[in-house]
């Protein structure tokens, strides 16, 4: 277990460093790091400190959020197909962002879009706690999430449908694909507190999630308060996913695939999977964000498109594996 965490930390650290030296400006790695660490006011140090550093940090924040919340959702629902988007939080955050673009709030001031997305996420949390609350089984949570997702996506479609402005429409479509390009340190400072708070809420679910391997009844008899666990899961997931979506758009498959890949390496214990998945998610998003810059440097390939392209074949492989195990 310690060895797994150590190798994931090494992997994430390596990809973080690599992410800092990959970019359209062809600069050697040594010169890049010198420019990052010394405040020389040269264009190079500006590129490093204000473009590449926030981008790499955001990749870690967003990836860790998705990996951690995916592992927590799968553990709570005791279902390997659960994912962070299930609660409808990413959908409602996207709705906030789309409204901000459409109403011109996004161009009016720099953080208009992420703030509107956060407001959307908050509305989503409010609705899901109202609908699924602290009582009821996992089914009511899933149904409430589906209802909120469907409502949010219908409203996004309505905005696109009625939008008189083709530029706003294309901006909305591209934003929804998810990206970390052209983000600043302000985006980092905006997302970080929510992600840290949500991360603590989710990471402390380790024990209850282990106990829930035996079912809800047995977990409760082992001393876990299920209503509290459920509230903590909903709020924690909402915070990390809402903040991530606000700064990066919707990025799929990370929260679904990463816990799935790492599960065999932690002996399938849902508690241990939390930390490993956070690191694995950070590594996957860093890797994907490096690849979008390497594969098509000119075309602004979107991050969410690439994670789906990485995720779908991995998932097909998992299906194949499951079928072989069942046969």
């Amino acid at each position: 277990m310690k060895r797994l965490l150590a190798s994931l930390i090494l992997l994430t650290g390596g990809l973080f460093a690599l992410s800092l030296v990959v970019g359209p400006a062809a600069i050697g790695p040594i010169a890049s790091f010198q420019a990052l660490l010394t405040d020389t006011q040269t264009p190079l140090s500006l590129v490093m400190q204000e473009i590449r550093l926030p981008r790499a940090i955001l990749a870690v924040i967003v990836g860790a959020s998705l990996g951690l919340s995916g592992a927590a959702m799968q553990g709570y629902l005791r279902n390997p197909l659960a994912e962070p988007g299930l609660l409808g939080i990413s959908g409602s955050a996207a709705l906030g962002a789309v409204l901000a673009i459409q109403l011109g709030l996004a161009s009016a001031f720099p953080l208009g879009l992420p703030l509107a997305a956060l407001a959307g996420a908050l509305l989503g949390v409010f609705l899901i706690t109202l609908l699924a609350g602290s009582r009821g089984g996992s089914l009511s949570l899933i149904l409430a999430g589906i209802a909120i997702s469907a409502l949010a996506s219908a409203m996004v479609s309505l905005v696109l449908n009625l939008s008189p402005n083709p530029f706003a429409t294309s901006e909305i479509v591209f934003w929804m694909m998810g990206s970390l390009a052209d983000r600043s340190m302000e985006h980092v400072w905006l997302a970080l507190p929510f992600v840290l708070l949500g991360g603590v809420l989710l990471a402390t679910l380790s024990r209850p999630l282990d106990a829930m391997t035996l079912g809800e009844d047995a977990a409760e008899a082992l001393g876990m308060r299920l209503s509290r666990v459920r509230r903590q899961l909903i709020i924690g997931t909402a915070l990390v996913v809402g903040a991530s979506t606000a700064v990066a758009g919707t990025i799929g498959f990370v929260g679904l695939v990463v816990p799935h890949l790492l599960r065999p390496l932690v002996g399938a214990m849902p508690g241990r999977l939390l930390g490993a998945s956070a690191l694995g998610g950070a590594a996957m998003v860093l890797l994907a964000d490096i690849l979008v810059r390497v594969i098509l440097p000119e075309a602004d390939l979107k991050l969410g498109v690439l994670t789906a392209f990485i995720g779908a074949p991995l998932f097909l492989h998992l299906i194949y594996q499951t079928r072989r195990e069942l046969a």
């Binding site: 024990r207 106990a211 391997t213 009844d217 001393g223």
Partner: protein, 253 residues
Amino acid sequence: MSLLALDSVAVSLGERSVLRDVSLSIEPGEVVGLIGPNGAGKTTLMRAALGLIEATGVCSLARLSDAERARAVAWMPQEHTIAWPIAVASLVMLGRMPYRGVGAAPTANDIEQVGRAIRQAGLVGFEKRPATQLSAGERTRALIARALAQATPLIMADEPIAGLDPAHQITAMETFTSLAGEGRSVLLSIHDLGLAARHCSRLILLGEGGVIADGSAQSVLTAENLARIFHIEAFFAQTDHGPVYQSLRVLDP
């Protein structure tokens, strides 16, 4: 001091009243068989006793804090699903959770208790097998081991021996009896009245929304009780092989 005391407990599920005016207590060193037809409220009674569902009346366990209760009683629900392919040893170690701090490594005592529970359940050699790959009977034994590892004065188990082969049914019942020898107690619901009559030190018969009879097998499994609650006729006698019970036929309504 009794390990479980219920006084005038009543439970309703939704609009339907399931149990009324149930009073009973379990003392150290007992193996109590909870018997009754389907829908008599055996599971409901145990869940109410644990405080997992709302009930009126006095229940000693439901009044404890979550952490205290987890050290006072181990609960083995009827549903034997295990969500993830965790190793059998890790599964049994979950029973040690009430004694372990957050993130703390298992102590020597934890490891010893887990090893002992695995031996008692006859699962030596299975420690590293993923629990989801066990047969239904092996999985049941793994869950019994999990409850044993919790090392509580009282174990409550909902049909723990359903689905086991005859040898493992007897072994499981003998394990419970040996716990009683140590001064611990077991409350288990059970449909096999033959095993209940042989291995339980006491039977509680549930029916008609309450406790019909509570006492030794002879005093509970009377022809009258069997006819009234189970609608069956049975053979029940003390023989050279101990008490022998066999259900014979269904009585006309």
